[in-house]
Symmetry: C3
């Protein structure tokens, strides 16, 4: 695929500084770009790289255009414009409507004729697959699941019973949507399984990463809002609700029935307890532990950056010593003495 800069400028309605006939064939990072490639500057820290780039064109903001040694496509959001151009340069493989002969499709499933069903898929009774869906190889789609148009299951995705996917959702390999939630009733020493009878409803334009798991609801459904982006290896418990456009990084786990607002950003490896309410526009940094609800928008943390192990052992020892001192204080007499000392 090769596109002239002039055509890109017209197609995306942006200003071009430079020769419109230059052909772009690929994208490349500023620092290693060569002729025929397009790069972008979104992070001003990379300005020094811009000045020496060998890219044939760079997408950037107007304020940086004079720093560019090469053609420039000007945008107020260079990262987004870059993304759109890259989508043109690297189009998805064309859709091949129809089902591979090895796909096993129940006679009671309704598959739009424009959808593509790859090899070794299993599609159960009552499934509905919308127009132009692309079901990659070895996907399992359980009874009565419903996929709106233009969904893409990359490969080996498992959708449980009655799972619903909004339009244009993209699910990566190994994801399991609609597994049973972790629900038991205690009976003496043993655990009695509580049937998990809800399902999972996923909005439009959702992306779900590789090997991520989302449990079906215990009674009601687990809900993932429009535009939510989930990275790889995330675990979402039963009856969680995630608001529109929230993005969550890899390896984070969210326990059952927690509700997360819209436009949140949650870092990797976080642990979020169950039955909490987290409002809109909350940012949680990586490895934070959330055990209480959060009303106010803002940035929240609890991870501790590492230290050389020797120093860190001192930190931990001192921390615990301090708490013991505090406990001793909470003996009333010690308390009084301490208070005098503090004054």
């Amino acid at each position: 695929m090769s596109i002239a800069l002039g055509e890109l400028a017209v197609r995306f309605g942006c200003e071009l500084r430079g020769d419109p006939d230059v052909q772009i064939e690929a994208v490349a990072p500023l620092g290693t770009a060569g002729p025929g490639t397009l790069s972008f500057l979104a992070n001003p820290k990379l300005l020094p790289q811009l000045k020496h780039t060998h890219a044939s064109a760079v997408v950037l903001e107007a304020r940086h255009v004079d720093d560019s040694p090469t053609a420039a496509l000007i945008s107020r959001n260079p990262h987004a414009l870059y993304a759109r151009i890259a989508s043109c340069l690297y189009p998805e493989a064309p859709l091949r409507p129809g089902a591979h002969p090895s796909a096993l499709i129940d006679a009671r499933a309704q598959i739009d004729p424009s959808a593509q069903i790859d090899a070794y898929c299993l599609i159960a009774e009552g499934v509905q697959i919308g127009a132009r869906c692309r079901i990659g190889p070895a996907c399992l789609i359980g009874p009565h699941a419903r996929l709106e148009p233009d969904c893409h299951l990359v490969a080996r995705v498992t959708l449980g019973e009655r799972v619903q996917l909004g339009a244009r959702s993209l699910i990566h390999a190994g994801a399991v949507i609609g597994s049973d939630g972790f629900g038991y009733a205690r009976e003496g020493a043993a655990w009695l399984k509580v049937p998990q009878v809800g399902s999972v409803r996923i909005g439009s334009d959702v992306e779900i990463g590789a090997n991520t798991t989302i449990d079906r609801g215990a009674i009601d459904d687990t809900l993932i809002g429009d535009g939510v982006k989930l990275d790889n290896q995330i675990q979402i418990g039963h009856n969680v609700q995630i608001g529109a456009h929230t993005a969550i990084a890899g390896c984070t786990g969210i326990a059952g029935s927690t509700r997360i607002g819209a436009r949140c950003m949650i870092g990797g490896q976080c642990g979020i307890a169950g039955h909490l309410v987290i409002g809109d526009d909350v940012v949680i940094t990586g490895m934070a532990m959330v055990t209480g609800s959060i009303q106010q928008p803002g940035v929240y943390s609890s991870g501790i950056p590492l230290e050389p192990a020797r120093r860190w052992r001192r930190v931990v020892a001192q921390l615990k010593r301090m708490a013991d001192r505090e406990a001793a204080r909470s003996n009333p007499q010690a308390d009084r003495q301490q208070d005098q000392h503090d004054e």
Copy 2:
């Protein structure tokens, strides 16, 4: 499926307050229940919801019966009774004995004729599958694995060589049981793989979540006790032993050769080091790090709840400053001065 309240009362031997002819068709949460549904009250915090529920019946303890505006099934363990009733209302699909034509079954495998083997399963030589097992689609069962009666592999489960599953075990999609442990001998800068020749033995009534991984033992077997419940995305290292009825929440990792007792409850995202011994009835809260053995039953923690990031940065800075002060103290002279100051 519809069942009369009277029939439920008889079947489960519980007291009914209300009309025995009322038909129950579904379960619902107290707050959103409507006619024809059954709900339950296990958590007294939900009493206000009970008082306004539109459920046709509620499972509850005797002490709450007068708060119910509707029919009540009385139990000392409402959550457990609810679970049993829900199992009746939402029965599993009937077993279809026999193997799907696309399942590839080695001639030397022994499959009970009452077992169901779904499409695209691969069953290796020497495998034994007991009565009424339900092997969902695309499961891989390695050589000489053995499944006791009534096991259910939901879909796409991988069982390695010689893995044993006790009766009624339930394994969710994407779980890998019997992968190689992480065992290497150091040789200069490189790592030499140590063959992992043990397997995994799993007790009865075990449930294993989606995309959970359990490594085979290095020499002896990895052991999972009866009634153990493992949530999604848990990682169990080689030669770990987990005692009966222990429950572990999602994303927790347990390193090799650690032994965990019976009836423990371990929160999500915990990290448990190798070669430890954790006794019976230990409760570990979420995101805790376990680097030493635990003898005493009780509740243990090390996770820190998050804070607004600005405050948290102060906490971390102060924590590290304090440890440095402590290090300065450990210079003997500083120590003496400090001791005087502390007195």
Copy 3:
């Protein structure tokens, strides 16, 4: 498989103390070994077990030979010699060259005739599979992926487009190599997907654990060096680079574009932020959070070992109180008073 001790001594060039005709059939731990088994002593803590072992032979260092009640194979690296002997005693199943009839192989793929392709594999156009590769059941190999000789995909491995695997690499079940990275451009409240057009290049002698995920690069490739060992359920973000012989334990996540040096050892459940540089020979203990680059070799930590929950709550409360006190200090007047107090 049964091998005489004398043959083992000759084959591995090590000294034997004891009867060369003793036959070894299996390996066993020192404590539970019986006749016909071989054990090893690598950890001096197990010396008491050595003295009472019933193994027929033990691999150990010369300095421990007099403590052995049984035949001894002497090595300066007993763990490594044990590993090599175990590989002889438990050989892999012989390679069966050729493809199972159910494997779907694109006509434009090049498969070495000595390679084994198991049932239900899907191999796309342009794939190259080298000599003696063993492709276990239900693996998906995307367009133009390339496997050097002697690779082993255990089962159900997903390799994305253009992924490259070095010689002798071993990938366990459920691993997904080459999934899209987590890359978006912000547009108002929504996230616009940035096409991920790089791939993943993996060196020789790499092992990758079950359900581990490695994202393809955004533009350039994600790079995994020779001899790297990745445990189960690790998440590697796009454009990460990992140096040769680095070993990483389970459940660790590494965010995009971070570069990790050679011969590092990284514990389980760590969280490593993006765009960092970690040098060679860095050891990071379990559950550490890495948010800054690390130049110096050494051991680094930030995990806190757990405590009884009551004591731990005191620690956390005191920690936060302390930080607030510090904040009060940073009011200049309070600062002055505090300084006087500290003197």
